[in-house]
């Protein structure tokens, strides 16, 4: 396709044929405001924020969907355009619960930013009837507050298109329109998988995770509690953004320092139990291959993916690895091995996890996740909640020194840290499985075919006379493609990694929210993943089975991978679920 030349605000611009005015304007360093637009998944021209004047056009046009033509003359900032955008904002506010002072999205709200940019002085200009909606607090992981919803439908697009689920949509019409589920099912009774991708794209405070920060503050203040925190691999790749740092900043050292200053008794790394997962999962895979077990085996680290499988492909749950997720393994080991070693009563331990994920809040309450008679994990926070705690405690994150994790559950390999990116679990497992199978040291540790942010990746590797065929999918609409292949008997993979969120945990539903205009122009997933791959590249140990604390854990406590004790503590079971639960 050739380029088209047009003028935007009297400046000549060339842009590829098929571009929209919004895209062409970006090439001219002009950002046209949007609220509903999300590239590829929500191009509906509904919110009218992006209106511009086109010479010769009868009325204002929506830049996000209007294609450019040769010789077109566009004006993005005329008084007419600005007046229209202002009116749109005033009308949105007329139906918006303006509790902005303490709103969870204050300072990070796309509606608030535009109101400020456009100088909306009278936020009650059209003060009329406003529907009152009850909050949906039914789900373990999130709250929907339709009183702050602007009906942009980004959440609907994320649920239906990105994840292929579609449990939420716009119901009724006109003034009565609201986002909800079929027949007003509570979210908890639908087949929502808790991935939180709807929260990640919400421009306002209408969708947010259930906040448990007060429970953590209370546990820390309780002298009878011993509060242990673990942080997932992807959190370090996101948290610094909450403190004004660019996307792709490694916040590991300062995060550890902040956690100590918050008062946690031990600051541990989920990377440790990611390595532990690899030990168990590689063992399970080799066992299935040798003993004609169910293949392909599919990873079970992502609780959003696991719940999706249970709802939508219940006939495939035997393909799921029985390994608990790293979060849960960590809790089970903390309340057994660590508690015994330190002489602490497991009942006194409060296990807090910090996760890039909202589904982890659901996972901690699942059945068969309490190996020691107490919940493996007590409180699961998102990256955003941890940032909120740090801000509330007045800790100046950016000025903190870089600190290191505590021991004995703080060691890890480079294989553990890349769990946070799509393909990372696969690569980590391959490093261990290949060496175990061949008994020889791998010359090349980088399995680059399974890296990158493509939705589906496939590769095959010759190992000890076998051709090991693997696949990796992230984002549930991509997973569906692989699952249908398995269902129809068209797949000959031995091992599959599936992550619920596109790009893996770095882009999880609990990570810092990125405004639409950044999301549409920056590859957030790749930038955050690069933090993890850099950490792996520079790690002194890059294979899970070589981590000293992991070896010690097996020597002193578990025996060997797949042992009875390991099974009891580190493995779990799954249930078949309905698509919507009818009472």
């Amino acid at each position: 396709m050739g380029d088209i030349t047009l003028k935007i605000n009297n400046v000549e611009v060339s842009a590829p044929e098929g571009s929209t005015i919004l895209e062409a304007a970006r090439l001219a360093q002009i950002e046209i405001p949007t609220l509903c637009f999300l590239k590829d998944i929500n191009e509906i021209g509904a919110c009218r924020m992006c209106v511009v004047e086109v010479k010769g056009a009868r009325s204002l046009v929506t830049a996000c969907v209007y294609p450019i033509t040769e010789g077109m003359e566009v004006f993005t900032n005329t008084p007419k355009v600005v007046a229209s955008r202002k009116k749109t904002l005033e009308l949105l506010l007329s139906n918006h619960e303006k509790k902005c002072l303490s709103c969870i999205r204050s300072e990070n709200c796309e509606l608030q930013k535009l109101c400020k940019d456009y100088g909306i002085e009278d936020e009650n200009k059209y003060d009329g009837e406003r529907p009152q909606y009850e909050l949906d607090t039914s789900a373990a992981h999130m709250v929907r507050d339709n009183n702050k919803c602007i009906l942009c439908r980004r959440c609907v697009a994320a649920c239906e298109k990105t994840q292929g689920i579609g449990v939420i949509g716009a119901n009724e019409r006109g003034f009565k329109t609201y986002i909800g589920s079929v027949f007003d099912f509570d979210l908890a009774d639908t087949s929502c998988v808790s991935c939180g991708q709807c929260i990640a794209v919400c421009p306002t405070g209408a969708l947010y995770e259930k906040d448990f920060t007060d429970d953590v503050f209370a546990a820390i203040a309780d002298p009878d509690k011993y509060v242990v925190v673990q942080t997932a691999p992807a959190v370090r790749a996101g948290i610094a953004e909450e403190f004004g740092n660019p996307i792709g900043t490694n916040g590991e050292g300062k995060m550890i320092a902040a956690l100590r200053r918050l008062g946690f008794d031990k600051v541990f790394d989920t990377n440790f139990s990611a390595d532990l997962t690899i030990m168990e999962e590689a063992n399970e895979l080799l066992d299935r291959v040798k003993n004609n077990g169910v293949l392909p085996m599919i990873t079970s680290c992502s609780p959003g993916w696991v719940k999706y499988c249970e709802h939508y492909y219940p006939e495939l749950i035997d393909h799921l690895s029985t390994c608990k997720s790293p979060q849960q393994m960590f809790g089970a080991i903390t309340k057994s091995y660590f508690a015994e070693k330190m002489g602490i009563d497991k009942e006194k331990i409060v296990m807090v996890s910090v996760m890039p994920c909202t589904a982890k809040k659901f996972e901690i309450g699942r059945d068969d996740q309490d190996a020691n008679g107490v919940p493996d994990v007590d409180i699961a926070l998102t990256t955003r909640e941890l940032a909120r705690m740090i801000k509330k405690a007045g800790i100046r994150f950016n000025d903190l020194p870089d600190e290191e994790y505590d021991h004995p559950l703080g060691d890890h390999s480079g294989a553990g840290v890349i769990f946070g990116a799509t393909g990372g679990v696969m690569e980590a497992a391959l490093r261990t499985a290949v060496e175990t199978l061949t008994g020889e040291e791998l010359k090349e540790l980088d399995f680059t075919d399974v890296r990158g942010t493509a939705g589906i990746k496939e590769a095959s590797y010759p190992v000890a006379g076998m051709n090991v065929k693997v696949a990796v999918a992230s984002g549930l609409s991509n997973a569906k493609i692989l699952l249908d292949k398995i269902k129809n008997g068209e797949a000959d993979y031995q091992f599959i990694e599936i992550m619920g969120c596109p790009g893996g945990c770095v882009n999880g539903g609990g990570q810092p929210q990125v405004p639409g205009y950044v999301r549409n122009t920056v590859d957030v997933r790749a930038k955050r993943a690069s933090v993890l791959y850099d950490l792996d590249k520079n790690a002194p140990i890059r294979k899970s089975h070589e981590v000293p604390e992991i070896k010690k854990l097996y020597e002193e406590f578990l025996g060997k991978p797949g042992s009875e004790k390991a099974h009891h503590l580190l493995h779990t079971s799954y249930v078949k679920r309905e698509v919507n639960r009818l009472d």
Binding site: E160, I165, G166, V167, I168, G169, A170, N171, E172, R173, S181, V182, F183, D184, F185, D186, D189, V579, N580, L582, D583
Partner: protein, 163 residues
């Protein structure tokens, strides 16, 4: 959950086969959801969850999407029709003559709102726009029977005739 007025779904196998045939005939045409939903309503009289679920499963679209369409258009009913269908005209003439108050009284008497059906299946309630009898405003109908110049205090007597 708003189930269909608490009335259990009584679809038959024959109705299901009819619906599946319609879906199979139309599934490859673009924009087939609306005509399929219209046919489903002809077959069942309304679109309860169970019927929307069949459409959703067969077409591979989320059931929420079917529900979104069903609640967007006034032509679709989520509740069954009662043995007796009560209708109140809210057209201009009837409305200025007080049909809004008549509707309120019927809602009070039956304990249901517009578009709903009583849990015993006896009465369903709808509103309409002009039945061509403006001279009799305000007008209400029960089945084919037209009642003109209705006042709220007459409502109970009218409904009692059909109990």
């Amino acid at each position: 959950m708003k189930n269909s007025g608490g009335i259990p779904f009584k679809g038959t196998e024959e109705q299901k086969q009819q619906l599946l045939k319609v879906i199979n005939d139309l599934r490859d045409t673009s924009g087939c959801l609306m005509p399929i939903m219209q046919a489903a309503q002809d077959i069942y009289g309304y679109l309860p969850y169970e019927v929307q679920k069949i459409i959703s499963d067969e077409l591979g679209v989320p059931v929420e999407k079917v529900y979104g369409v069903a609640t967007f258009y006034a032509q679709f009913n989520l509740n069954p029709k009662g043995e007796n269908t009560v209708s109140v005209c809210l057209g201009t003439a009837c409305y200025v003559k007080g049909s809004g108050l008549v509707l309120e009284e019927i809602e009070k008497q039956l304990g249901i709102g517009d578009g709903e059906c009583t849990s015993d299946g006896k009465f369903s309630l709808d509103t309409c726009r002009c039945v061509g009898a403006c001279g009799l405003a305000p007008v209400m109908l029960v089945n084919e029977d037209v009642y003109g110049k209705v006042t709220p205090d007459q409502v109970k007597g009218i409904l009692d005739k059909y109990k």
